[in-house]
Structure formats: structure tokens, C-alpha cells
Symmetry: none
Subunit: 228 residues, 4 copies
């Protein structure tokens, strides 16, 4: 039985994502991947040019989809406000990451490692992302929609908040049955991000500035559960 070239690649990729996520890249052997995918070991080298090539394709495809979502909105958003565009970005990225949760988790974890390979792969995309986000922030400031702030810090904060929930230690989900996998997570988290824009980014009268440094359960989802 001969499968499609594309089909076989997909099967292998899926198996790889699953194993890489739970065991890490180094901790996974090509034989484990081949076994889980139900294909011959040599096919991994054949289709991806080796284990490293497989990793590359996974990371690349993740960032590809990631950047594309920002890019599309950046170029076509018809929202009247910059904040509106940002909210679109937030929603699209949250959905994207949740849909590719294991891959996202794996990529983000691998990013915490000192791997030359991973660094090289990321740099292109991270540069692009930085460009888009910073441009948008600057646009918002120019339009007096956003408060004047160091753009760098805004960008990193934004990126941080978009990434952290997916870095969440696996064991927490398991122990407490709280998870970023179910869809109920997206809505409150998005709300929380909107709030962050309102309070910390946008140009708005803040009567009690002291509050700004305050509260917030990190995860809106949790907050949601025990009501307010």
C-alpha cells in the first residue's frame, strides 16, 4: 500500500509533534516517531532530510502560520482603530495556538533552549513579528489612540502575554483539570487582553492611577470559574 507523498509526511509530522511535545526534541528518537506513525524509519530521512529537517519543517510551519495571521490583519484590517486591529490579532493568534497546542507548546519550550538551530529558524519570524507589532503600536501612538510609551516594552509584554498560557506546565493542567485546550479558555483570555489594552495601552482618563499596578489573576479563565 503506497500512500500519497503528502499524506505520509503529514502522518509523520503528527507523530513527531506529539512525541516532541511530551519528550522534547532530543528525548525523541526517529524510531519512536516512525513506530508511532506506522512507517519505516528511513522515510523520515527521505521525506524531511533527517530528524533535524523534520524539526525545521515543524517550527517553520508553525511560525509561518503564526506570522501569516498577523500579516493578513496588518494588511487588510478594516477596523477603524488600531486597538481594533490588535484585538483581531489577539483572537486569531489565540485560536491558532490553541488549535496547534502541542506544536505551540513544543516550539515555545524549545525556544528556551540554547539551540543554534532553533535560534536561526526563529530569528526571521521574530523579526517580522517585531516589525508588525511595533509598527502597529507606533501607528496607535501617532494617532494619539495609544499612550506614549517605550514601544519595545509594549511589544515584549504583548508577546509575553500571548505566549505564556501555552508554556504553562503540563502538570498543572493535569492536577487541577484546568486547561488551555478547551475553547472556553479563549473568550475570557481575550477579554483580559482587551482590558489590558484599555488600561495600559490606550490613551484614556485613569482616575485612580494606583489601580493600574494591580490585581488580575493571570488567567482570566480561572477567574471566570469562581465568578467575580
Amino acid at each position: 500500500m503506497k500512500a500519497d507523498k503528502a499524506e505520509t509526511k503529514l502522518i509523520i509530522a503528527d507523530a513527531a509533534i506529539s512525541l516532541f511535545t511530551s519528550q522534547g526534541y532530543k528525548g525523541t528518537t526517529v524510531r519512536q516517531i516512525a513506530k508511532k506513525a506506522g512507517v519505516n524509519v528511513a522515510l523520515i530521512s527521505y521525506h524531511f532530510g533527517g530528524k533535524k529537517g523534520l524539526l525545521e519543517e515543524l517550527i517553520t510551519s508553525f511560525f509561518e502560520g503564526y506570522i501569516r495571521r498577523i500579516e493578513v490583519i496588518y494588511h487588510t484590517s478594516c477596523s477603524p482603530t488600531v486597538k481594533g486591529s490588535f484585538i483581531e490579532v489577539v483572537e486569531k493568534l489565540l485560536i491558532y495556538q490553541q488549535k496547534n497546542l502541542p506544536l505551540a507548546r513544543f516550539v515555545y519550550r524549545e525556544m528556551t533552549l540554547d539551540s543554534t538551530l532553533v535560534r536561526e529558524l526563529m530569528s526571521t519570524y521574530l523579526t517580522k513579528e517585531k516589525y508588525f507589532l511595533q509598527t502597529m503600536f507606533e501607528k496607535g501612538m501617532k494617532k494619539k489612540e495609544f499612550r506614549k510609551q517605550p514601544v519595545d516594552f509594549l511589544t515584549i509584554q504583548f508577546k509575553d502575554m500571548m505566549m505564556l498560557p501555552f508554556l504553562h506546565p503540563l502538570y498543572l493542567s493535569e492536577v487541577y483539570q484546568i486547561t488551555t485546550e478547551n475553547e472556553t479558555f479563549i473568550k475570557p483570555y481575550k477579554k483580559w487582553m482587551v482590558n489590558w489594552f484599555d488600561k495600559c495601552v490606550c490613551q484614556n482618563e485613569r482616575k485612580n492611577p494606583l489601580l493600574s499596578a494591580v490585581q488580575t489573576p493571570l488567567f482570566g479563565a480561572i477567574q471566570e470559574k469562581w465568578g467575580s
Copy 2:
């Protein structure tokens, strides 16, 4: 000149922490560790019973120190309020984690892997930690100092917030020169935690409940930098 047993073990452990942190456990070879430590490879097996044993000792010693800090405060804190005890815990743990930053980072990352070994090592300590935190929260509630809330969620939120800054992807720090390593991080982060207690945990009049779900840059440290 022969070194002390304890001394050599320390040198090896230091080298291992450094390498494990940047390359991961699986990505680090004993020969790299030995080379970095300037000792013979066999000494790792001699002193730690192998690479696995080295990992065990590192993780164990980290959690040992971690739990001890909670425990001491739990048993000897003379703060009149439970919140006061919690603040002590926060401070001690932040200092501890910052002082052992690479180790903390490494342990937390390794916790996101599906490693039987790591799971087994942690289970003891996590259970203890859970006990201490939950008991304290319950005490606070019984004393009407804290609002009534599901203790589980409080505990996990607290744990989360104490861990997240140290999971922070390395590259961010490097790119943006923001780091949890310098001491200026602790003070604002502690302040932020205090605020969380005031607004989300403690029994206090909240005039505008809507605000509670709001704001907060995840990292007070960052907020601090560009003023308020």
C-alpha cells in the same frame, strides 16, 4: 592536590546546572559537564551514581530548599495576619529562585516534559507545598481575613505566579535586556503579589468590582521601568 569530596561535587553540580539550563538534560553529555567542571568523566558516576543521579540530586536539592523556606515560615512566622505570612513566603521564594535562577529555570522546564523520573521526584515536594499553601489559605478564610473561594484555584494561581517569571523564555531577556536576574526585579514583583492578595484574596470592600478583572502588566518589573 586532591579536593574535598563536597567541593568536587559542587563544581560538577555547578557545571551541570549551567549546561542543563542552556541545553536541557537530554541535550547535555556527561563529557561536556566533566570538561566544563575540569574533572574526569568517571567522577560524575563516582559522586552522583551517573547522569540520572546527578539530575536527581539537582532537582531534589532545589525542591528541598524551596520547601524548607515555606516550612520554616509556616511553623515560625509571627506575623499577626495570614497575609503577612504569605508575604514572607513570597519574598523568601523570590529570593531563593532568583539566587538559583538557572537551576529554577531548568527544573521548571524539565517539569514540562513527560519524564517519569522528574514526576516522581517532584510529587513528594509538590504534595507538601500544596498542603502548606492550602492550609494557610484555609486559615485565612477561617479567620475571615480572606474571602471565601475555592482553595484549589487560589493555590494554583499563587504557585503559577511564583513560577512564571522564571519560565520566561531566555531569548526575551537577551533580546530586550530585561531579566529576572538583577535584584531590582524582586521588589516590584513582590509589590505586585501583595496587590494581588489585597484585591483578589483578602476580604475587603471593593467599590468597583469591575476593575478586579483588569489591568496589570504581567510583570511588575517591566511596568516599573517605564514608570506608572
Copy 3:
């Protein structure tokens, strides 16, 4: 040109037998085996699951063939006398051991070691062998063909005599050019075994009782036990 799986395994096995026999299991390295077999080291693990697996297969296959020869005769021998069946067994086993002389020597030597592994491997086969031999001896006694004697001792004596010539120190053969390898060994040794059956096992008039101490049992100690 890639060889058959079976073929390669045979080549490796042959090299292993040769080296194990002359240097012992512990004294032989997988690299020596691989070199002698003209294959890559990793193939040993690939085909046999490691050095230990190779040992297992060698010992198992030796005993397998050994037991099978007894079994076949046990079930299909059409000799009118039990002694006749025994003689068949003696002949088949002598031929078998001589054909697999190095393997036999190696296995028998390894049996003198306190190896858990070897013990476990043997136990199955030795139990089977014991069963076959004892049943045959008992049958001979029931038919009044054999003298009544403790079956245990008969069995061990028989086994002993079938094994000893192959345990013979290698150096003796070399020094004196006497060997169990050439075929002229089998005939007289078989004759000697027949004689042992006639004089010590079978029910026959013995005119000169003094002779009883002569025609062997290899171990006087044993003879002593069941009297003369």
C-alpha cells in the same frame, strides 16, 4: 551487497562461538566479535539485542538441538530394549556435541560459573533432560532389564560421562595432539559407554564381584553411596 538476515546472524554467531570458547564470555568484547565476523559492531545489538542476547541464543540453540535429539529417540525409538534406546541417545549426542564442539565446550564451561543468566537458560532444558533420562531408566528397571538402583545417581553418572570429554582442558589436546574433534573418538567412546551399561546398569550375572570397582562409575564417591 546486503546479506541475508539469517546469513549475517550465522556469521556473527560463528565468530562469537569461536571467541567465547577461547576467551570466555566475559573475556570477549563485542568489537572482537564484530571484527572477526567482518561486520559492524552495532549489528550485534541489532540482530541479537546485545551481547547478552547473543549468549542467550547460542546457549538456547545448543540445548535446543541437544534436547531434541533425546526427545526424538524417546518418542520414536523402535529398539526392543531400553538399553538399545540409550545407545541411540549416546551416539546421537556424541555426534551432536562433536559437531558443535566449540559451542559445547563453551556452554559447559560457562555452566561452571555462578551466572544467574546461564542458570536460568539451562534450567528448562536440564529439567527436560532429567525427565527423559529418568523415565527411561525407570522403564528399564520396570522391565527387569536394568538392575534396581537409585535413578538419580544413574542419571547424573550418565550425564557426567556424556559431558566430561568435552570439558577436557584445551591445552591437553594441543600439547598431546589428542583431541575429541576427530571422528575416531566417537566409536571407542561409544563402546565404552555400552560397556558401562552392560556392567553397571543392566541386570546380568556378575561372576567376579571384584570387578565392580573397576568398570568405573567415574566417581567412586557415587558408587560408594549406593553400595556395591
Copy 4:
């Protein structure tokens, strides 16, 4: 507590003999020996110049005692017949080997290995032994006490018979509780050797030539060679 130099050496040697016997030379580590002896590992190198030196001393001391027993009788025996001297030799050697059973077993097993070291150690003693035995046999023939036969074969047969019972696979003893260790073994075995001398070596009338195939030589093959 400092022990005598000699005492410590003995303790180590005893431990080594025990372990070498059950696990073989290669299968035993110096750490096992040191542990069993209750001394520091380095002492083995200190006292014996290493593991190899320890082996040398054990084998040497065994052969030393072995040869000395032959030598003494060779020079001082006042038996009127050569056969009488031989019987003395037999008795002394049986007792010696039984008293040093584990060592004897170990040495004889190690002799079946292709070890350059062992070969070199033995050669001296084996040459001496060969000289004594052959001279005695020749003397017996010259005195017409022994039949004329190839001396080589007589020697090797004799040596064979003196060695074989100690090569006996360990497991047999264990399974069947028959052992060469208890003293009751020596008497009958000696008797059997006497008989061998009477029937096969000495110049005596043999009324029933048929018996010639019976009283052994352990190896018919040998018997075959020098005719019947």
C-alpha cells in the same frame, strides 16, 4: 587498626579465590574482592601489584604446593615399588586438591581459556610435573614393573584422571548433593586409581582380554591409539 602485611594478603587472597571460583577471573572486579575482604581497593594493587598479580600469586601458589607434593615423594619415597610411589602421589594430590578445592576448580577452569598469562604461569610447573611423572613411569617400565607403553599417553591419562573430578560442573553437586568436598570422596577414588594401575599400567597376567575395553582409560580414543 592496622593488620599484619601477611594477614591482609591472606584475607584478600581468600576473598579472591572465592569470587574467582564462582564468577571467573574476568567476571570478578577488584572492588568486589576488596569489599568481600573488607579492605580498601587500593590495597590489592599495593600488595599484589594489581589484579593480574593477584591471579599470578594464586595460580603460582597452587602449583607450588602441587609440585612440591610430587617432588617430595619423588625424592624420598621408600616404597619398594614404583606403583607404591604413585599411590602415595595420588593420595597426596587428592588430599591437596580437596583441601584447596575452590582454588583447584578455579585454576583448572582458567586453564581451559586461551589466556597467555595463565599459559605462561603453568608452563613451568607442567613441565616439572611432566618430568617427574614420565621419569617415574619409565622407571617402572625399566624395572619391568609396568608394561611397556607410550609414556606420553600414560602421563596425560594420569594427569587427566587426577584433574577431572575437580572440574566437575558445580551445578551437578548442587542439584544432586553429590560433592567432591566431603572426605568420603578420596578413599574410593584412590581405590579406583589403584585399580587403574593394576589393570592398565602394571605388568600382570590378563586372563580375560575382553576386560581390557572396560577398565577404562577415561578416553577410549586414547586407548585406541596405542592399540589394545
